[in-house]
Amino acid sequence: MTRYGMAIDVRRCMGCNACTVACKVANDVPEGVFWTRVLTRGGDAPDAPAGENPAVSMSYYTLGCQHCENPACVKVCPVGATYRDEATGIVRQDYDKCIGCRMCMSACPYTGVRSFNWEEPGYAMDFALGDADIAPHQKHVVEKCTFCYQRIARGETPACMDLCPARARFWGDLDDPESEVSQAIKGREYQHLLPEQGTSPSVYYLV
């Protein structure tokens, strides 16, 4: 079985937001919506460190859907619009099916990875960006990171992988010990976000 996953090297990530932009463009993500965001772990504002100069500390965690093996969102969706694709381990969202009850947003422990289109999706450009085969965005449904399902179906990697200047992201099949992601995790100390929630995320943070 394939279980796609990602490892993100927190020691390499410099919070440049290249992945944020790559994701937004590849998936033509509407205005005001971000499927992946850069979170600053440090002070109380983005890019602000904790502590007093010179004893300051700061690191970046890029956060998108964690594609959990035991996803809280899938269990609660009353119509099965959010589901785990068993062939890839990816947690998917069917916009045509979503009734907009937002139960998944409430159930997901990872604050803010799911977003609801609170109005008709708007775009900065007059023309569509990104891949031609993405599902069209809809008003009043929930959406989130798809691990660029359209791209991996073609054998490519998710868009956030491509532009990362620090090469902080690793991608592949977690069940394949030879994959890039498995190799990256091997021998490294890693962290799952909110492990106490018992969701078994497919995103590993190398620390």
Partner: protein, 407 residues
């Protein structure tokens, strides 16, 4: 309400045609309900961006009132079915009116789920693609059953009085209705309580606690209705029965406060993450609702327990206070659930992130994370008017007056 009630009293034959006051009240409810529907269409066409709900506080007034009305629906059915199910004396002829209030409250609860949906036209999918593992699906099934059962139960009582339905059949229906009533509150609790992602909600106590809160506001509602309809001359309830209801309300209030105490102690004692929740309630943004609930509950309980205070106006006041106390509880639960984020590391904020998105995350959580917009209040008022209208229509059209000799 009292004006209308007085008008009803002026022209007693409310059962046939009703009085002018009642008709005016029904008309006003209809107007408000239509206005609510218009605002709902505005919400759907212009987008739910017009509500104050956002990604990090994705439920608001509608789901608060959904919880609240599920609770309100309890009283009527339980007050009415417990005496019949156990074969003990009832509360003096208020049984049918009480069930009517349950029906109206259940309709409101269902309507609040509907107005909260982004895609209400896809509601049919709930029945076509039901995910039976989802607590929300359980609730939809149980709520529907509950509504149908309440109607059947009311019908059976009326038929029973005419000798068409046997006492045994009525008793069986009342037992089933009672079980369903307990289920509907538990399942509503599980929508919240089974989410490990919200520390405030994730407790096994939530199920029983929802049942006790429902009993508080439900009994409060029945007490208020019984006193109001007696004053209006629609029915006459003996003082002893009102006192019995008030004592019951007092007991339910104590149980509810006891659960509250248990929950606060369990949250705070480890001096870990739960302390944030206790502080948010006792001295944080939700303090007005926390202390509001405590003060209203205690005031209502004092009226219920001190014999000299149990006058009709004060008992009605106790009922209202109990209902408002539980409304405060619902606000605490819903807004409180979103007030403490699991991941609070700062990131980019947009108008869809959180209600108060203009500052930083800390500022967004400094006060109440969510407060409804006028549109939400308008839609909510429409739904409430719909429920009140249904209840008043029931009073006007249905034979809800006590049968001779009914207890």
């Amino acid at each position: 309400m009292t004006d209308n009630a007085a008008a009803v009293a002026a022209k007693p034959p409310a059962a046939k045609g009703g009085s002018r006051g009642l008709n005016v009240a029904i008309g006003a409810c209809a107007v408000l309900a239509v206005l609510g529907i218009v605002l709902w269409v505005v919400q759907l066409s212009g987008g739910m961006i017009q509500t104050a709900m956002r990604n990090l506080d994705s439920w608001g007034l509608y789901i608060t009132l959904f919880m609240f009305f599920v609770g309100l629906s309890a009283g009527g059915l339980i007050i009415s079915s417990v005496p019949k199910a156990f074969g003990i004396r009832g509360f003096g002829g208020i049984s049918k009116v009480a069930v009517m209030s349950s029906i109206a409250a259940t309709v409101a609860a269902i309507a609040f789920v509907v107005v909260d949906l982004g895609q209400p036209v896809r509601m049919w999918e709930l029945f076509a693609y039901s995910n039976l593992g989802s607590p929300l699906m359980w609730d939809i099934i149980v709520l529907m059953t509950y509504l149908i059962l309440s109607c059947v139960y009311l019908w059976a009582q009326v038929r029973n009085e005419r000798g068409k339905v046997s006492h045994t059949a009525l008793r069986v229906i009342s037992v089933v209705a009672l079980v369903c009533a307990v289920l509907v509150h538990s399942v509503t609790a599980w929508i919240f309580g089974l989410q490990q992602s919200h520390e405030m909600w994730h407790t096994a106590l939530l199920g029983p606690w929802f049942v006790s809160s429902a009993l508080v506001c439900g009994t409060g509602l029945v007490l208020v209705i019984a006193i109001a309809l007696s004053k209006a001359g629609y029915l006459s309830v003996e003082r002893a029965n009102l006192v019995k209801l008030a004592k019951l309300l007092g007991a339910f209030l104590m149980v509810d406060l006891y659960f509250f105490g248990c929950d606060l102690l369990t949250e705070a004692f480890p001096a870990a993450g739960g302390v944030a929740i206790v502080e948010m309630l006792t001295s944080g943004p939700l303090a007005p609702f926390f202390w509001g609930e405590i003060v209203l509950s205690v005031a209502a309980a004092v009226i219920c327990f001190v014999p000299s205070l149990r006058t009709n106006p004060l008992m009605a006041l106790a009922g209202v206070a109990a209902i408002l106390a539980i409304l405060c509880k619902r606000v605490q639960l819903l807004v409180g659930g979103f007030q403490v984020p699991n991941i609070e590391w700062p990131a980019i904020m947009t108008p869809s992130t959180i209600t108060n998105w203009q500052g930083n995350l800390e500022q967004a959580y400094a006060g109440l994370v969510y407060w409804p917009t006028p549109l939400e209040f308008g839609v909510a008022l429409g739904v409430i008017a719909l429920a009140v209208g249904i209840f008043l229509l029931g009073i006007k059209m249905l034979p809800l007056k006590p049968a001779p000799g009914e207890d």
